[in-house]
C-alpha cells in the first residue's frame, strides 16, 4: 500500500508537477513578454537558460525582460551574453547602449575587448591559413613549373595570415568567452581592500562595468576591475558573463 502511494506520488511529481517547467517553450515565453507579463516571461526564459538551450536570441529576450522589470544591470549582462554568442546581433548592441546610458556607464571598451568579441574567428582563420599554406607548399616547393611565382606568393601570403591570426588569437585568448569575465549587476558596488563591508573602498564600480574574477572567499570575491585595480566585492554584485 505504501509502495503504491509512493509510486502514485512519484507519477504526480513527474507528470503533474513538472509540466509547468517541462512545457515552457520559446513561444510561450515570447507570448508572455508580448502580453506585458515580463516577470512570467523572465522566469520562462531563465528556465530555458537552465535547460542550456543557449542562443543569442534567448539571452537578448531575457535582457529585454530584465530591462522591462527595471533591472538594467542584469539586462546589460544578458545583452553581453547575447553578443558573446552572436557579435553581429545589432539589436543586442543597440539595447546594450541604451541600458548602459540609463545607468550612466559611458566606459568605452578597450581595443582588446573589441577584438575579443571576435576571438573565435582567429583560430579558425589561422587553421584555414595553415592548411592553405600546407597545400600551396606542394606546388611552391617545385624548382620550376607553370605559375611557380603565383604559388610561392600565395604560400607566403598564407603564412603571413597564419602568423597574424595566430598572434591575435594568442593576444586575446578566450576574449569575450573568458569564463572569469563578470559584470557588475548591482548599484552601490565598491571595490574594497578587504572582504568586509567595513573595509576601505578602492574605487566605485558602475553597473555594467567589467571585472575579472580571481578567487572567492565566502560571500566575497577578489577581482580585478577594468581600471586594473584589485579588490574585493560582494559575490552577488557581479555575475559571470559565461553562465
Amino acid at each position: 500500500m505504501i509502495t503504491r502511494c509512493f509510486l502514485i506520488a512519484a507519477w504526480c511529481l513527474s507528470f503533474g508537477m513538472s509540466p509547468a517547467f517541462a512545457t515552457v517553450t520559446w513561444e510561450a515565453a515570447n507570448e508572455a513578454y508580448q502580453h506585458g507579463k515580463y516577470e512570467e516571461a523572465k522566469v520562462d526564459y531563465i528556465q530555458l537558460v537552465e535547460r542550456r538551450e543557449y542562443s543569442a536570441d534567448l539571452f537578448y529576450n531575457l535582457g529585454n525582460a530584465w530591462f522591462k522589470l527595471g533591472d538594467p544591470g542584469r539586462a546589460i549582462l544578458n545583452y553581453e551574453r547575447a553578443l558573446v554568442l552572436n557579435p553581429r546581433l545589432e539589436e543586442a548592441r543597440s539595447n546594450l547602449r541604451t541600458a548602459l546610458k540609463i545607468v550612466g556607464n559611458d566606459d568605452q571598451p578597450t581595443l582588446r575587448e573589441r577584438i575579443g568579441d571576435y576571438a573565435d574567428y582567429f583560430p579558425l582563420v589561422a587553421s584555414i591559413a595553415f592548411w592553405t599554406a600546407a597545400v600551396f607548399f606542394i606546388p611552391a616547393s617545385r624548382k620550376q613549373g607553370s605559375f611557380i611565382t603565383f604559388w610561392r606568393t600565395a604560400f607566403i601570403a598564407a603564412i603571413f595570415v597564419f602568423v597574424g591570426s595566430a598572434g591575435l588569437s594568442f593576444w586575446v585568448g578566450s576574449g569575450s568567452k573568458d569564463p572569469n569575465r563578470a559584470l557588475v549587476v548591482e548599484s552601490a558596488t565598491d571595490l574594497k581592500y578587504g572582504p568586509a563591508v567595513t573595509a576601505r573602498p578602492v574605487e566605485s564600480l558602475q553597473i555594467g562595468q567589467q571585472v575579472q574574477l580571481i578567487s572567492e572567499r565566502g560571500a566575497w570575491t577578489f577581482c580585478r576591475a577594468s581600471t586594473d585595480s584589485l579588490g574585493w566585492i560582494p559575490t552577488r554584485k557581479a555575475e559571470r558573463v559565461i553562465p
Partner: protein, 581 residues
C-alpha cells in the same frame, strides 16, 4: 481510497509550498560607525512586486536612496523574487539613532520591518596637515582654483602631498588613489600622479601631485572636508644626517600613515532656468560642432552613417546625444558614441556620435544637428547647429512605419511633452539558433576539422613514400622474379644445356644483387671465383659448373640430357653458393 487521500495531501503540500507569503526585512551594514563613514541600509522584499522604494526618515541621519536590485531564484520547484532597495545612511552628528520600521504595501496588505539602531561615535584620528604647519614631516594640501562654479561644470583640482626630504614614501597599497570626504560632487578617475621638488618656508619637500576634476551635482555650498591618501613612509631615527642628504647607513622606521589635506568650500550655482534651450541636456563647457556623413550617394532603405563630432573643454561624461531636426524622410536610430580624451584628465576631448540613418524616400539633405550647452565663462546658453549636408538618395519610398498619433488631452490642448523614457528594441521571435559559450578551440568540431586535412596530408605522405619505395625496389624484385623462374627451370627441365645455363645465370644474378647498391662497383663471376673468401671446394665446383656450361652451350660437347644426379649436384652447388654469399 487511502492512496487517493495520500496523493491529495501531497499535491496540497506542494501547492502550499509554491504559494509563499511575502516577507520584508531591513539590515544595516554596520551598527556602529563614525562621522566620516556612511553605512549601507538594505530593505529586502521577498515574493512581492514593489517598484517604488519606500521613503525613510530618521533624525540626525541623512538617508539617500542608492539603487534597486532584484533577483529570482528557483529552489525545489519554487520561484521566488527578492527585491533589494539600498540606501546610504550618512551620520550628521554623534549619538544613537533609531531608524523607524519601514512600511511596504504589496497585494493589498502592509508589511513592516523591525526598527534599527545606529550608533555614531566621534573619530578624532584626523591628522590633517596644512601648508601653514610646514614644520610637520609630511602634510597634504588641496588646491582648488575657484570658489564658485555651476552645476555640471568641471573644476580641475590638485591634491598635493608634501614629504620632508629625509622621508622615503610610497602610496600604500601601491596604486591606491586619494579618497575624498564629502558629498554632492563627483570626481574623475585619477591619472598617474606626478612628483616634483618644492621649497616651502626655506625647506625642501618632495611633492606627490594627484590631479583630478570635480563636478558639483547640486546647487549650494559644497564643503570638501578633506582628501586622504595612505602612504608607507620610512622615517630615519635620530637626526644625524644633514637635511636633504640620505644616509644609507641610517636606521629607518617604516609605518603606514593616512595623510589628509585641508578642506575647501565651493559655491555651486544652479544653471539658469531662463533662456534654457529645449535641446540642452546638461553639457557645461565650451564646445564646437562638426558633422560628416558616409556615403554621399545612396538608395532608400540603405544605411547612412552620420558622424557628429563635439570637441572642446567640458563635462563629456555627462554629455547626451545631440538632437536631430529636419528628420522628415529619415528613420533615425540610437547613435553609438566614442570619446577620445585630449588630455590626461579628459577635460578636453572629442566625443563622436555615430547616427545610423535610413532614408525613407528620395531626399537631398541630411538631418540638422542641434546641440546646446552652457558656457560658464560667458554665463549663458549657446546653441550650435550643423550646416545642412547634401546627400543624393534614389529609389522608391519605403512603407510607412509611423505609430498612430498620440491623442491629445481632454480639452484638446497640447500637453507638456514628457521626458522620453529610453526603451529597448523588441524581442526576437524567430526560432533561436543554438550556440555555445565554449571557445572554438575547446569545441570537438574544431579539432575534427583539423584532423581531416591532417589525415589527408598523412595519407598523401604515406602514398608518396610507398610509391618511392616501390620504384627503389623494382630492380631487386625483377632479379628475384628471374631467379625464381630459373630455379623452376632447374627443377623441371631435363635439358642439360638449359639447366647449366640457368644455374650460371643464377650465380651471375646473385653477384648483380650483391653489388647493385655499390655505385660504380661491378664484379664478374670470374672475379668472384678468384677471390680468397670462397671455400676451395665451392670455388672448384663453381668453376666446374661454369666450364660445363661453356662446353655444353658454346662447344656443344657432352650429353644433351640431364641426369638426376647432376641436377642434385648443381642444386647443391647453388645452395652452398647462396650460403657462402
Amino acid at each position: 481510497m487511502k492512496s487517493l487521500l495520500g496523493v491529495l495531501i501531497l499535491v496540497l503540500g506542494i501547492v502550499t509550498i509554491a504559494v509563499a507569503e511575502p516577507s520584508i526585512s531591513a539590515s544595516l551594514s554596520e551598527t556602529v560607525t563614525d562621522l566620516d563613514h556612511p553605512v549601507q541600509l538594505e530593505i529586502k522584499i521577498e515574493n512581492a512586486r514593489v517598484t517604488r522604494p519606500p521613503t525613510i526618515f530618521a533624525n540626525g541621519l541623512s538617508i539617500n536612496f542608492a539603487g534597486t536590485s532584484s533577483r529570482t531564484q528557483i529552489l525545489n520547484f519554487r520561484a521566488s523574487t527578492i527585491t533589494t532597495f539600498t540606501y546610504i545612511v550618512t551620520p550628521t552628528k554623534e549619538g544613537t539613532y533609531d531608524i523607524p520600521p519601514v512600511e511596504v504595501s504589496a497585494g493589498g496588505k502592509t508589511y513592516r520591518t523591525s526598527s534599527l539602531t545606529l550608533k555614531v561615535i566621534h573619530n578624532d584620528s584626523n591628522n590633517a596637515g596644512h601648508p601653514g604647519t610646514s614644520d610637520k614631516p609630511y602634510f597634504g594640501e588641496l588646491v582648488v582654483p575657484k570658489d564658485s562654479a555651476y552645476v555640471g561644470e568641471q573644476i580641475p583640482i590638485e591634491l598635493r602631498f608634501y614629504f620632508n626630504q629625509r622621508i622615503q614614501y610610497q602610496p600604500y597599497p601601491q596604486g591606491q588613489y586619494p579618497i575624498f570626504d564629502g558629498e554632492g560632487f563627483v570626481t574623475k578617475k585619477y591619472p598617474d600622479p606626478s612628483e616634483k621638488q618644492f621649497e616651502l618656508n626655506g625647506r625642501p619637500y618632495h611633492v606627490v601631485v594627484y590631479k583630478t576634476a570635480l563636478t558639483g551635482v547640486k546647487p549650494g555650498k559644497l564643503e570638501l572636508q578633506s582628501a586622504t591618501q595612505s602612504f608607507l613612509i620610512s622615517t630615519p631615527f635620530g637626526s644625524r644626517s644633514s637635511p636633504g642628504f640620505l644616509d644609507p647607513f641610517e636606521d629607518y622606521q617604516q609605518q603606514v600613515v593616512d595623510v589628509k589635506t585641508n578642506g575647501a568650500s565651493i559655491d555651486i550655482k544652479a544653471l539658469p532656468a531662463a533662456d534654457r534651450p529645449a535641446s540642452f541636456s546638461g553639457a557645461v563647457g565650451d564646445f564646437t560642432l562638426a558633422t560628416s556623413a558616409q556615403p554621399s550617394k545612396t538608395r532608400t532603405g540603405d544605411p547612412v552613417s552620420m558622424k557628429v563630432e563635439i570637441k572642446g573643454l567640458g563635462n563629456f561624461d555627462r554629455m547626451e546625444q545631440p538632437k536631430l531636426t529636419n528628420i522628415e524622410g529619415w528613420r533615425t536610430y540610437q547613435p553609438s558614441e566614442e570619446t577620445e580624451a585630449l588630455d590626461d584628465l579628459g577635460l578636453s576631448a572629442v566625443k563622436t556620435f555615430s547616427y545610423p540613418l535610413v532614408a525613407e524616400k528620395p531626399v537631398s539633405n541630411l538631418p540638422i544637428v542641434e546641440f546646446s550647452y552652457f558656457d560658464p565663462n560667458a554665463e549663458k546658453y549657446v546653441t550650435l547647429k550643423s550646416s545642412p549636408l547634401n546627400i543624393q538618395v534614389d529609389g522608391e519610398r519605403l512603407p510607412d512605419l509611423s505609430v498612430p498619433p498620440v491623442s491629445l488631452g481632454a480639452q484638446g490642448a497640447p500637453q507638456p511633452k514628457p521626458q522620453p523614457i529610453p526603451d529597448v528594441l523588441d524581442i526576437q521571435t524567430r526560432p533561436p539558433a543554438p550556440a555555445s559559450f565554449l571557445p572554438l578551440t575547446a569545441q570537438p568540431v574544431f579539432w575534427i576539422g583539423q584532423a581531416i586535412p591532417a589525415g589527408g596530408f598523412l595519407l598523401l605522405s604515406f602514398g608518396l613514400w610507398f610509391k618511392n619505395a616501390r620504384i627503389a625496389s623494382l630492380p631487386h624484385r625483377t632479379l628475384n622474379r628471374e631467379k625464381r623462374a630459373l630455379w623452376k627451370k632447374i627443377d623441371a627441365s631435363d635439358n642439360r644445356p638449359e639447366v647449366l645455363q640457368a644455374a650460371v645465370r643464377i650465380l651471375e644474378l646473385d653477384i648483380v644483387a650483391q653489388t647493385r647498391s655499390k655505385a660504380g662497383y661491378r664484379k664478374s663471376l670470374e672475379d668472384l671465383i678468384g677471390e680468397e673468401g670462397l671455400p676451395a671446394d665451392l670455388r672448384s665446383d663453381v668453376r666446374e659448373l661454369v666450364a660445363a656450361r661453356g662446353a655444353t652451350v658454346y662447344g656443344h660437347l657432352g650429353s644433351e640430357f640431364l641426369t638426376e644426379e647432376e641436377r642434385t649436384r648443381i642444386k647443391s652447388v647453388l645452395n652452398r653458393w647462396k650460403a657462402a654469399a
